[in-house]
Symmetry: C2
Subunit: 308 residues, 2 copies
């Protein structure tokens, strides 16, 4: 049956962010071997792009201190997903290029206060820095996406108007990113916002690949996934087990869980190419290593219908 | 902005089920006074219909043993929401009528196995019993709704085809219920199912009031709420704090949390008439009494934007 609002999307790409956003704020620092095992499991489950690590200060983010070793180990695997390195500045990009990331992802923040606290620079400076990195990445032949953080709301400034976020998109387009992602960093977004941002971005550049990054902090993540998929989003970030909180969102649950997204989409007839049971098993495995249980519905309640 | 799929609903009615579905499986048996305090808080928050209790065997459901006392106490309050009594059989209806419920809700189950395990009778017998109760309720001038449980899936039989659920709707229509509710008893439903059931029910009786009852077991509850509201549902069940699991869905989270529903809808510009902060406060109060914290995003993470 097709009803209004139910679009013809038959496949959505999932980008697995557990190796970076999922674990970066966890107290337990995973060994490089455990990170490589996680990346192996991600590939085995059918996920074909993953945010493998970030090239940031090891003093600020100790969990990511072994970024180069993770990249080297993951690249040595006979099969692996496209390995995305997150970068925040020129130094990070230089490291990511040297480590031979398959893709890079650069971040700008949609609120001035959050940008200064998180990145140490205001929006205009970060757009200039991101644009310079995007140009170098293009020159080096490395696909590059840009994530607009706090695109649905800011922990310091409150509401972030869609017009402001779309203004940022416009200012980034001359640098020709391969993909633009809207991130609900603190998990406050609702479907009307998702629709407004995606429609607005399409109006600015009909050919741009669009991606969304949701957190389930206020239980709205799968409603936002539904709205995004039906508004024609190309890709979604998600994190096995639902791990990954924002340090500015206290007591928050984490990223939307990959297994919950796969359950929703597959049961709606939308292909993800991912093995649900392997995700659930990996959520449990990762929870054991991190010392607390996964936060996904599927890891708690199991599949439906029960596996044969 | 209006995009495809975003309908013009500007108000949705919420039916608060914490006093019945929310607490019936909790280990801690609340005092009658605590139940009356919960009902006072429900009314004060702006909720105007509530499943106040159920008239079932106190041996089977000890939490509901004081149904008559709860009804008497709640009716004595200067202001109270419409008090709905859940009934499963003739004896329950007789008690609900004697206790002067403002409404009754009768249940049938969409799967034969679940019906026999939960109600002790098969579907056909339950439809006949429900129809007899609906007729008596109409005669007595008591509004009556019917809930179709396991309408999105069964813990024993697995998938429940929409055609089967809509067949049940058809068999109940001659008894002229005032409202029909589709319940995702074990929290396995997805938005395509919501749309198919609501569109199918409208096709059978365009004037029928339709209601949905979701559980967040597999994190899909707010996606289902979104689909239901945009498909024109009249009312939604929800439970403060997200309390209330199904005994057949082990380790499940509970009913969709009222505060999460209100957050989603109000932020999308859909009026609920409910005070979000009072819900969050009541979720904490109820959690203290039940001995475990609420399971809602809003109770964990707080409002956004932060209250002034």
């Amino acid at each position: 049956m097709t009803t209004e609002g139910q679009h013809a999307a038959r496949r959505v790409e999932l980008i697995e962010v557990s190796p970076r956003d999922g674990i970066q704020n966890e107290k337990v620092v995973l060994s490089t071997d455990d990170k490589l095992e996680l990346l192996r499991r991600i590939h085995a489950a059918g996920l074909r792009r993953t945010e493998a690590t970030s090239f940031v200060s090891p003093k600020r983010v100790p969990q990511m201190a072994d970024a180069e070793a993770v990249m080297a180990g993951a690249r040595a695997e006979p099969g692996h997903a496209a390995l995305i390195g997150l970068v925040l500045n020129q130094a990070g990009f230089d490291r990511a290029r040297a480590a031979r990331c398959d893709e890079i992802n650069v971040v700008v923040v949609a609120s001035e206060t959050f940008s200064r606290k998180n990145q140490g620079a205001g929006i205009a400076d970060m757009v200039a820095a991101a644009s310079a990195i995007l140009a170098q990445s293009r020159e080096a032949g490395i696909p590059a996406s840009v994530t607009i953080a706090a695109a649905f709301g800011c922990p310091f400034e409150g509401e972030v108007p869609a017009a402001k976020v779309l203004g940022l998109v416009e200012s980034l387009l001359p640098a020709r990113p391969d993909e633009i992602a809207f991130a609900d960093t603190i998990g406050c977004g609702v479907p009307t916002q998702v629709r407004e941002l995606l429609a607005g971005a399409k109006a600015l550049d009909a050919g741009m690949r669009l991606r969304c990054h949701f957190h389930n902090t206020r239980s709205t993540a799968l409603a936002n996934v539904l709205a995004a998929v039906e508004a024609g989003v190309h890709a979604l970030d998600s994190s096995i087990g639902g791990f990954g909180g924002c340090p500015f969102a206290p007591a928050a649950t984490g990223n939307v869980a990959t297994e919950d997204v796969v359950y929703l989409l597959e049961r709606m007839g939308i292909d993800t190419g991912v093995d649900l049971q392997m995700l659930i098993d990996t959520a449990g495995w990762l929870g054991d290593r991190l010392g607390h249980p996964p936060m996904s519905g599927l890891a708690r309640a199991g599949r439906f219908p029960a596996a044969a």
